[in-house]
Subunit: 152 residues, 2 copies
């Protein structure tokens, strides 16, 4: 699907605040409410808009401690990678797991309450997974920027 300037503007609106009504958006674009409605439907059907979610404030629900955990596996056989990926995806503390280039195989984003909770996570969950070689933890001192908005 090809998207034009109007679609782009609609997407920027919804990425920033999906509670905006079609009326508000239509006012901004100079279109009718229905036109906006139909464009959004198309963008949803095309999978360009993949979902609508509520974003929570981590620090208000005791998940203000963010750690990036670099993981190296012992071996890199397909089965090992696959098993690790499946298991790590099921850990609720892990909000992101990327298979990456460089010195490590994976980078995990881990959200927990504090250092104690992180230690607990490492000891009882992560280092219990099979095939893990080494890990290095990078602690977040400050979130300078954090957005779900993709520039169009």
């Amino acid at each position: 699907m090809k998207i034009d300037e109007l679609d782009r503007k609609i997407l920027m609106h919804l990425q920033q605040d999906s509670k905006k009504t079609n009326k508000e958006i239509s006012n901004d674009l100079g279109l009718s409410v229905t036109a906006v409605y139909e464009r959004i439907r198309k963008l949803e059907k095309a999978g360009i808009i993949s979902k609508y979610v509520a974003v929570l404030a981590p620090e208000k629900i005791e998940k203000g401690f963010m750690v990036l955990c670099q993981v190296k596996l012992i071996q890199h056989k397909k089965d090992f990678l696959h098993k690790f990926e499946k298991e790590v995806a099921h850990l609720p503390e892990v909000t992101e797991c990327l298979h990456v280039s460089g010195d490590y195989d994976y980078i995990l984003k881990v959200l927990v309450k504090d250092m104690d909770a992180y230690r607990e996570f490492m000891v009882t969950k992560l280092t219990n997974l099979d095939h893990i070689g080494s890990t290095t933890s990078i602690f977040t001192i400050n979130k300078v920027k954090e957005t779900t908005v993709i520039n169009l």
Copy 2:
């Protein structure tokens, strides 16, 4: 604000799909629509729900190339950090910027179309910022897991 089991369930619903109606949620919880409505309002007022957003599929809008860029500054005077943070926050390609512990000062999440676009970003934007020492790029081979849902 203290949140109870019902609040937690509401938050899990909305984190996964904010288009769910209060009616659907109330059915699941065995509450009235109004009760759900009032709880959600409280969670919003308390800032626990910080916003509602549409999530796009990066690969469908030519932003399927994700790079983590580790940045070291030359000096660490407060002014230098501050200036760097301000400038980097304005770059639309950067969706995340974390001040971190370890060998590097910052880790940036950069979303672009492809390697060409990344090179362009590095050459014309990032390495043009003041006080940058060294950078290391970590390329994403595969997104194993990526979610905005925080487990409660």
